[in-house]
């Protein structure tokens, strides 16, 4: 049984993660993860067939921040915002003291380009499978697996889910 304090801390982690991305504060994004971490975006199509190829995988904080640098400096894509909805959060304490979490996400993408400025569409839906640990009393994602139902990616995937 999780204490309310721990629940609130974990819920805040999961909610703050969303605002970090949606408010375009990507530079903070790696800090939501533990020192040793794994972030994987996996099409449901592959997972269901036992195939290992991900859309994105980062097995270190360094790789996370390289994604952010690429996002800011290298990659070319249509200007846009994300807006997440995350709900149906279930928390399960694990034997090793970590917490397993699952929740559903939707990302709406709003274009900020000249052609479709201010129009919004359902961009991606799926589910998060997290392992959460406490480092310095702060909850962090040891692992965040993003299972993408919407495996037919519209245009491209550059901003993390």
């Amino acid at each position: 049984m999780l204490t309310p304090e721990i629940r609130y801390a974990v819920e805040d982690l999961i909610h703050a993660y969303v605002h970090c991305i949606d408010e375009d504060e990507l530079e903070e994004w790696p800090s939501f993860f533990a020192t040793e971490c794994l972030y994987t975006v996996m099409p449901r199509e592959n997972l269901d067939q036992g195939l290992p190829i991900p859309l994105i995988s980062c097995d270190s904080q360094g790789m996370l921040s390289d994604r952010v640098t690429a996002h800011r400096q290298a990659n070319i894509y249509g200007p846009h915002f994300y807006r997440h909805q995350v709900s149906s959060l279930l928390l399960t304490p694990q034997a090793d003291g970590s917490i397993a979490a699952r929740s559903n996400y939707v990302v709406f993408r709003t274009w900020a380009d000249v052609v479709q400025y201010g129009s919004t569409e359902v961009y991606s839906v799926g589910t998060y499978r997290d392992q959460i640990v406490f480092e310095n009393e702060q909850p962090k994602f040891k692992e965040r697996l993003v299972i993408v139902d919407t495996c037919r990616v519209d245009s491209l995937l550059v901003t993390p889910l």
Binding site: P43, Q49, P52, L55, S57, C58, G62, T69, I76, L157
Partner: protein
């Protein structure tokens, strides 16, 4: 938008310098899109549809498309390959609704007509009616009601299907210039590692141009230059088949001195702004194929792209969906005898390619911003005179020659040649 069974006439004016100009109309016009389906995708071409490794066992099937016609490919009882249009001979329902699976009989859900792996009609419920009433007459001949069967052939485990009844053999269609490069990639037994799908709001030919275009590589994809990983040029070249419709772009790292010289020539600003990779493990790769190449980007007209980008191996299937939409399906593979490390490298390098690929996500966007810009200017043209105006193999990458090759053949097939 069809207005009758006959083919619509198309008024198109190719500009005078036809080899180096493409009128934007070809990316916009729905009548051209319709004609492509008939004359091109159903025409004298072999369409890539998948890998033998996807359907290894008897009864395995894959449902996919040729152009935008739904088809099914099956592994027959004899181990052979079959293909048919995915449309029931009775009243036209999709017979096969899942993208893959295994079954010995394809049963249409509507009235349960059933077909064998070759597409022959083998079962018709209530065929003779009940108690002498209803059903089909004595003259009903199942042989007249098979699925529409298609030619199928494979080369090195790559499966191709054609609507054309008379056609060059697949080997000849690929041609002696292209085959060695397929051989390079498929010398050992492969294993499918996964899929990704990308839906792009642009005409499919903008992507066909993109993959034949080495010009954009270091200019649109800024990952390497941003992280100071190499400068803005590589060694490489372009090889085409005789028709100019297929091509193979290869690139490899040059020596430091060559790069520096090239760089000076180009007079380009550097993009290296002092960023370094925080985790360089992403760059780990292994030389595994002869000859050594950083990239092999090969196209087989009309809709196949084959890629070796460092250690990521994949086919890409271009599926047109509408004049301004296409889907791109990546099928990633490795070799069955990959060691664990190599497999791990492939999975990590998956970050480079596909819809979220650090050095490839931009291609879909490039196609989309062209589509967005040209909509009202179908009479204007793009200019493809980079590296000359002819269609010929090149030992450098600063050329649009393979794009010119594509259009040359395209105009021929479509009846747009002068």
């Amino acid at each position: 938008m069809q207005t009758g069974a006959a083919e619509q006439p198309i008024e198109i004016q190719w500009p005078e310098e036809a080899e180096t100009r493409v009128p934007y109309q070809v990316f916009l016009d729905s009548a051209i899109y319709e004609r492509e389906q008939e004359r091109l995708f159903r025409g004298p071409v072999w369409n890539y549809v998948g890998l033998e490794a996807e359907i290894p066992n008897v009864g395995d099937f894959k449902a996919t498309f040729i152009g935008d016609t739904p088809i099914v490919v099956t592994r027959g009882k004899d181990g052979g390959l079959n293909a048919f249009v995915n449309r029931c001979a009775h009243r036209g329902a999709l017979v096969c609704r899942k993208p893959r699976g295994n079954t010995h009989t394809h049963v249409c859900v509507y009235h349960q007509w059933s077909y064998n792996l070759e597409g022959d009609l083998i079962g018709v419920p209530f065929r003779k009616g009940i108690e002498g009433k209803g059903g089909y007459g004595a003259d009903f001949d199942t042989a007249q009601h098979s699925l529409h069967k298609l030619n199928i052939a494979s080369y090195q485990g790559l499966i191709f299907v054609s609507f054309a009844r008379e056609l060059h053999s697949l080997e000849d269609y690929l041609g002696p210039q292209m085959r060695p490069w397929l051989d390079r990639l498929f010398a050992r037994p492969i294993q499918v590692l996964g899929y990704s799908r990308q839906y792009i709001r642009a005409n499919w030919k903008l992507y066909a141009e993109n993959v034949r275009d080495p010009y954009h590589a270091s200019l649109l994809h800024l990952f390497h230059t941003t992280f100071g990983l190499y400068r803005s040029s590589m060694g490489g070249g372009v090889i085409m088949d005789e028709e100019g419709r297929h091509d193979m772009l290869r690139s490899y790292k040059r020596t430091e001195e060559q790069e520096t010289a090239a760089y000076k020539d180009a007079g380009l600003r550097t993009y290296n702004k002092g960023y370094g990779l925080a985790d360089p493990s992403l760059l780990q790769s292994r030389q595994e194929l002869e000859p050594h190449l950083t990239n092999q980007i090969q196209t087989i007209f009309p809709g196949l792209v084959l890629q070796q980008i460092q250690n990521t191996l994949a086919t890409r299937q271009i599926l047109p969906k509408a004049p301004d939409q296409f889907e791109l399906i990546f099928t990633y593979f490795g070799y069955q005898d990959d060691d664990e490390d190599l497999r791990a490298i492939r999975l990590k390098q998956a970050n480079f390619v596909g819809p979220a690929g650090l050095i490839s996500m931009e291609d879909g966007h490039a196609a989309e911003i062209v589509q967005q810009a040209i909509g009202r200017d179908k009479d204007a043209s793009s200019y493809i005179g980079f590296g000359g105006d002819d269609v010929s193999d090149q030992e450098n990458l600063l050329t649009e020659t393979a794009i010119r090759g594509f259009w040359h053949y395209y105009r021929d097939v479509m009846g747009f040649a002068a």
